[in-house]
Symmetry: C2
Subunit: 539 residues, 2 copies
């Protein structure tokens, strides 16, 4: 991929920051230090606290630092009890501890080297200072370790008088006694974690105010994912899935798995990816709908599935992906699809509560980088009729027809109107016009213009679309014909309702959209770990 | 699909069983009864306990039976409190209850009709008998409802003096007062649930002993999935996923989602499905491995993912599918990959215990149809070296080389030898020969013939393959070259280790295999809800 302007800027700043000496000199210096350290490590096995023979005569720290051999599982070293950075405060003033982490930043200052060690979202300041057991060479070695390298340190946790504002552990620092490089990062990184972590809102105080653009981030996703915001986003995303599954399991749902390779395009054939399947062709499923419905017809009563869905749509917007994770559910009901609608609504409420209560740390971490308004919701959720929504839009001066689908701007406007009137970021719109829904949607029995279908919205964007499905095969044929659908192509679908099928309804949720909208982020690529769109297939 | 011999047999038996009258006559009869009932239902709204006007003068049960209008969510009927069949015993001798279920079987006998109502895996006997409020017409109507139709009944639960052996609810029967067909099944079913549920082991007592073959089952999966064994298998399968996730979450793992559409074939290009991706080509991921490893390099420390994986392998065996669900995990470790190996081993132990303790009902239901030996395991799990396995095989007279992979027969034989010696159906084989593992496998530091890799086995079949991966980019290149791999094609993979990566190991588990082998079933198609193989893409 071509380097864009912003990326080049980032690189040059990185270089400028690196050292005051020239790039070449710095590299040479680092190389030599590492070479010396390697030699030292190879020579001294245990605690090399007296002189070793040969060149490194004056290094009192031999064996206390260096580049470790590649960890190939030679030794178990079970005696080394590692401590998490976030738990270090329990060790202040106690025995030496081992910590593994990354060099976030490092800065040499005469006989001292300060470095910040990062472990996932936690950071702690460390110091290596020339003394009885620490040599000048060791300090130099520490100062030359490339950012993002993984190191093992043995250190004492020491309380500090003044809070260290730059770190998450603000009341202590680590006084290093041993330091080994476990995995080296290369000297020139394509992006700096500091730049990639900089708040969207921060002011231009130092005249630099570097940002990293989206493509640079995604091209170097392994680095980009290390920012505190990204660490939090994907942990919260795991939470969304977990809550979705646990809540539905508690409600008596069974998890199922549906095939992604299918023999016929499920939703009519548009926007479907083709797969070569041995000597034939097949398609990638655009939704698990037919299979969820078959599971209902097969007496599983209430089912959900979490899995990849595919849309060959050439849409390059902030909210479209060609592959995303679908949280789908389907449920038999007794007499009215509102039994299902309320189940889904309650599930969302429980997810929002779970996120608020169990992921406050993650929400806060995302808030450090991105401006996020807390997500508001009502309990029970607000349910409006589609026609009520149309009335609200008209009242706001929008011209829209009774059977016209919501355009994206109208959808967003309605979200704002609902927020202003009801103070909720989540609501349900029920009874969509029949004409704008798929053929298998059950018509409203009381008004032929409408249907038993619904959408759900977060911050004014649709995150679930669902409906009562037609479970009567003859009526399904009637509706398919009305839509000019060749019923011979969906014969298997229709046939599955000829063995007795309970009335049922369901819906599909886009996982990445839920996370994006819950956090108030502006692009779905921020909530897909390795996003796929018409222009991106890597990494 | 062509009807095979067994399928035709099933059909003809079904016909023979159906009625003693001819097929046509039966159909006509049913049609008429339903017509009359429909009329009755349309006329009488509430409790039609006196005569309606017109033709149906002598029917005292008008309004108490019939074919319901298609449930289109017109009424909520919230006053009808439905009871689950499995909870019916709590209602013996009490008020009338509503129950929704399927007609499993029905049998008319003069003025009475006996039918068995099935709800998922539960069954209960029901009776409709001519009396004060029940007419001859109503009994006739009940007797003519097609098997597998869904009905709503209002009935009294009555204790019975002799156990009803044919039902799961053996101490009661339901005396029906109202009966409505909610969804009609067609008269001729492609397979009978009774046949599809018949124990593998049952003796040929009635001279019929019908079985339904695999293709007939899979072609009509909606029916086939209704058998008690299948209801149990897929609930247990959901349990495997749930246990896998919950156990790993408790161990600090984070769930991730990895793309299924990838730009380059991950495992060398063989056996990969090609997808047309807009104007380009792409591939379906054969495993999430690269992405799991990237998540580790991105500081997620311990990750798992549950999702579809694809193998374009033209293997038509009992244990190969072209699409299956992978339970994958990857974990950074400190110094030795056994930290990961033990984590995976413990995860299996916890899954086995969870299944044993929480899914005993399902295991028993499967055992009713298939001969299943209880699954045995040791705690902690047995770990053998590959070379120990080779020695055991040699002791049993098998000729096999030190660096030779286990053939399928040898794998199975070793499973039997291990079972005989250690009494366990689960074990781990560690330290596989380097030459038979992928290029990214970390060699054994102590013996160049072996590697830091392992397989895990259930009932003598491999269900997990894993290893320490090479996390050093230069060494990875060296090993790739040794395998004659074009390193330019895996440049992105190698590059992801240049930003510092902790040592890590992991593995991938086939979900369907775990369920098949845990239950001791003979074919993986029994544990995939909608299996995909080179010859099957439907339903």
């Amino acid at each position: 991929m071509v380097k864009d302007k912003e990326n080049i800027e980032v690189d040059s700043v990185a270089v400028a920051e690196q050292e005051q000496t020239s790039k070449k000199a710095a590299k040479k210096q680092a190389k030599e230090a590492l070479k010396a350290a390697k030699k030292a490590e190879h020579k001294a096995a245990g605690k090399g606290n007296d002189n070793a023979e040969g060149e490194s005569v004056e290094d009192c720290a031999v064996g206390r630092y260096g580049i470790s051999e590649m960890i190939q599982s030679k030794n178990k070293l079970e005696e080394r009890q590692f401590v998490l950075v976030q738990n270090l405060s329990e060790h202040i003033g106690k025995d030496l501890v081992w910590v593994r982490g990354r060099v976030h930043t490092s800065r040499s200052k005469g006989k001292q080297c300060f470095l910040i060690l990062r472990q996932q979202s936690s950071t702690v300041q460390c110091i290596v200072a020339v003394g009885d057991i620490i040599s000048k060479q060791m300090v130099k070695f520490a100062g030359n370790i490339h950012k993002e390298s993984i190191i093992d340190i043995q250190a004492k946790a020491v309380a500090v008088p003044n809070k260290i504002e730059a770190c998450t552990e603000q009341n202590l620092e680590l006084s290093i006694e041993q330091i080994f490089v476990i995995s080296q990062a290369k000297a020139q990184l394509p992006l700096q974690i500091e730049d990639a972590s900089r708040p969207d809102t921060s002011e231009d105080t130092d005249g630099l105010n570097i940002r990293v653009n989206q493509d640079t981030r995604l091209d170097n996703r392994v680095l980009d994912l290390r920012t505190p915001a990204n660490q939090a986003i994907f942990r919260l995303e795991a939470g969304v899935c977990r809550l979705f599954r646990d809540i539905l399991t508690d409600k008596g749902f069974t998890e199922i798995h549906t095939p992604k390779i299918i023999s016929a395009a499920s939703e009519g054939g548009a926007n479907v990816f083709t797969v070569s399947y041995f000597k034939d062709s097949a398609y990638l499923a655009q939704s698990p709908q037919l299979y969820k419905q078959m599971a209902i017809a097969a007496d599983f009563d209430k089912v959900y599935t979490v899995g990849a869905v595919f849309r060959a749509e050439d849409s390059n917007t902030h909210r479209h992906l060609t592959e995303f994770v679908g949280l789908d559910l389907e449920m038999a009901f007794k007499y009215h699809y509102h039994e299902v609608l309320h189940t889904i609504g309650d599930t969302f409420t429980a997810i929002f509560k779970g996120l608020r209560d169990r992921y406050s740390r993650e929400i806060e971490a995302v808030g450090q980088q991105y401006k996020v308004e807390p997500f508001k919701f009502l309990e029970p959720p607000l349910i409006l009729k589609f026609s009520d929504g149309v009335a609200m839009l008209r009242e706001a001066g929008v011209e829209t027809g009774d059977e016209e689908d919501l355009s994206t701007p109208n959808e967003k406007l309605l979200g704002r109107l609902v927020k202003a009137k009801y103070d909720t970021d989540f609501y349900i719109l029920d009874k969509f016009p029949l004409s704008i829904r798929p053929f298998y949607t059950m018509p409203d029995p009381n008004n032929p213009i409408y249907s038993n279908s619904y959408d759900m919205f977060m911050r004014g964007e649709e995150i679930l679309s669902g409906a009562q499905r037609i479970h009567d095969p003859d009526y399904l044929i009637e509706r398919a014909k009305h839509h000019n659908i060749d019923t011979s192509k969906i014969a298997a679908y229709i046939e599955s309702f000829r063995f007795g099928c309970p009335p049922h309804a369901g819906g599909g949720i886009g996982m990445e959209r839920v996370v994006m909208l819950y956090l108030g982020l502006d692009n779905i690529r921020k909530t897909s770990m390795f996003p796929r769109d018409p222009k991106r297939l890597t990494p």
